[in-house]
């Protein structure tokens, strides 16, 4: 059994330690908000936080998680109240939406470190997340908006 803390809850899973965290989240724990896109850390659709840091769960063996706290899109807020979620809604960022859990988790991690990111900061933090629908321009605008919302704007 492997102990995990996911979205603030302690849990145990009986899986192969080599199984990527992505599949533990999706198939074992039923947290399907985190998506599979490439399996090689190339697209960012599987982005979750480990102790607040964005990681690609498709290449992270569950055994490597240890005591670190896992946060998925489902745990970002219980009511879409995270500033990134609010900004995403305000600007209607998603199209197909498939990449957006990963985009939002990357953006939330960026804002946790950098309260007022520049476009260059955003490019650096977000270039690992592919959006095939091409919502990038809105993602950038929404990150700036989320930064405003976070500081009470």
């Amino acid at each position: 059994m492997i102990k995990l803390n996911v979205n603030g809850k302690d849990t145990e899973v009986d899986v192969d330690p080599a199984m990527p965290l992505l599949w533990v989240l999706r198939d074992t724990l039923g947290l399907t908000g985190t998506k599979f896109g490439c399996g090689m850390a190339l697209c960012g659709a599987c982005t979750v936080h480990l102790d607040g840091e964005p990681i690609r769960s498709c290449v992270t063996p569950v055994s490597a998680v240890g005591a670190k706290k896992v946060t998925t899109i489902e745990g970002l807020s219980s009511d879409r109240s995270h500033p990134v979620q609010k900004a995403w809604i305000e600007l209607d960022v998603p199209q197909c939406g498939y990449c957006q859990s990963g985009q939002i988790m990357s953006a939330a991690a960026l804002l946790a470190h950098t309260a007022q990111p520049s476009d260059a900061d955003i490019d650096a933090a977000m270039s690992g997340n592919i959006c095939r629908c091409g919502t990038y321009q809105r993602i950038r605008a929404a990150i700036h908006r989320a930064a405003q919302l976070k500081t009470g704007g």
């Binding site: 899986v15 192969d16 199984m19 990527p20 599949w23 198939d27 074992t28 039923g30 947290l31 399907t32 908000g33 985190t34 998506k35 599979f36 896109g37 490439c38 399996g39 090689m40 190339l42 697209c43 659709a45 998925t72 899109i73 489902e74 970002l76 807020s77 879409r80 979620q85 995403w88 809604i89 209607d92 960022v93 998603p94 199209q95 197909c96 939406g97 498939y98 990449c99 957006q100 859990s101 939002i104 955003i122 490019d123 650096a124 977000m126 270039s127 690992g128 997340n129 592919i130 959006c131 095939r132 629908c133 091409g134 919502t135 990038y136 321009q137 809105r138 993602i139 950038r140």
Partner: protein
Amino acid sequence: MSLDRRDFLKSSACLSGGLIIALHLPGCSKPARGPGEHKTIAANSWLRIGTDNSITFLCDRSEMGQGVYTALPTLLAEELGVTLERIHVDFAPAGDEYKNNLLGAQITGASSSVRDAWQKLRTAGAQARSMLVSVAAKDWGISPANCKVENGFVVSPYGKRVSFGECAEAAAKLPLPKNVKLTEAGNFRLIGTSIRRLDTPLKVNGSAQYGIDVRLPDMLYAALAQPPALGGKALSFDDSKARTMPGVKAVVQTSSGIAVIASSWWQARQARDALAIKWDDGPNASLNDGVILRGLQHAAGAAQSARKDGDVDAAIKSAAKVVKAEYQLPLLAHATLEPQNCTAEVRADGCDIYVPTQVQQVAQLAAAGAAGLKPEQVRVHTTFLGGGFGRRLDVDFIPAAVEASKAVGKPVKLLWTREDDTTHDVYRPPAFDTAVGAFDQGGKLIAWKLHLVGPSPTARMFPAVVEKSIDPFAIEAAANYPYDVPNVSVEYLRHEIGINVGFWRSVSHSLNCFVAESFMDELAASAGQDPVQFRRTLLAKQPRYLRALGLATQEARYGAAPKGHFQGVAVMEGYDTYMAQVAEISLDNGKVKVHRIVCAVDCGQVVNRDIVTAQVEGSIIFGLTATLWGEINIQRGRVQQTNFNTYRLLRMNEIPRIDVFILDSSAAPGGIGEPATALVAPAVCNAIHAASGKRLRSLPLARHNFA
């Protein structure tokens, strides 16, 4: 294009005549109810009204990002007199009543959802409103004309109110009203505004259900080993190792490969990779890029005429100057971010499939065939689609899921890897096209001739269409050549290449607009004219093109680019939408940097402004990705690209600024999900010509070391 589209409809195998209103009246979907339970009444095929005054729209088009989940109920809400938020959206099942009148079956494609729904759903909404009002008016003993509707209530002139829910059951028994009056454009409350998308809240917290997210009791997971060469098949396989691996429940030979079924998908995939399979590479064993290109270059046979004005060959013979060029375009993958998948539950008496599909009825037929059932025994549950772009007009990923479920007697979710998805796509057709233009002594363009060669997805998927006519989906942005030239010939020679090609966002517009709008620039250069002025002169009789070109060039400050920046333009009509784009680039050590793309759009009456803008923004990114890097290569019948490291997609740090300008128009709505894709390549290549004098007649730019 509209003439060709009608021809397509006439010859379509699955077309039935007449407009579908197909209201199922009277109808009550839940006959039994206990005390305190709500009852839901079917007002028509799309509308369910609950006795609790809930309103549900059965969305009969697939939501793949293009916004039907919001735009279609907007049409109903406008006529029902309710706010959009009052409407709950569910996806409709497969059914003839959901047929797309522009395409002949229940299909989400060809940027047709709003065009098809425009009259149909507003009429359905107006009829339902009329019937609800009639019930209330009769009850009150007043004329319906004196009643109005207000966010889910019928209201009398004296302030009496009764909810839609209370009227619905009686309303459903009334005859369908004829000649209902639709709201006039000047009185639209919702249409033409930028109402927030209804699906956004589901897409910011992980709750939107895509095909990959389906979970059923006792469900197993499958990974599929498909032939490495397209068109190959398994000769034999050894699964002795795979069967001993953790979680593995079964190994099943399906019609499209060997499926390993396990308790989790990761286990299934690990075991799939442990299969030892002997493959027969089949007919494509020696197919490669060179073979495909030479086949297209030397394709023999009679081309079909798509357009013939005057006598183009005589005009060319008599011309003072003739310009000729050959253009070539590569295969492209769709690369939907959600890999292909299907969840199937086969029982003795029926089958349920849960699938991200653009073709519910074709999916139903495919599943029925695989399960050995009748189509009506298959229920299709459409999920959200993690991208479509035409990929999910094909159903090649469905039978294996059904066969796997049937073999193990349990629900099975079959999911492809990214590598499966890239190497087993149905690719955008390649093309090898020849363009000829001719000028008279006075420098007037007197002849335009396009000879298009390529394989046809239509021929594979809708063979009846191409038996009777030229493939309408091969000659877009070509047959509708808008320039005022007396002698025009456009012809298409279908030449198959041995592997399956499919419909890719904007379909043949993405091929033909590149050729036509690049070659127009070549002719402008040959005539010594500015490319925009050259176009303007020849578009004098085309007000919608002219207006779009005028707005795009104005907003882009055409002719006044910053120092070191160069501009290129393209115009196009596709799906009844008129567009012009201006790309602004610079060259840095020979590499192109796209700074800005301006797009002016006349898509007729807009339903949701912000969705129109978003679709154009996204289409431009899609088109630019293909322009810079898009190319699928074949060696020994095998696709060489596998994942996003070899099939590169545009990222945040690589995007240009995109500005979209929407022209006011009272014309009927045009399609918006696709067309902007097609103008990017010619606009960018025309800008490269302006910058460097180099004319690029093939893509992607990476092939020319420009990207």
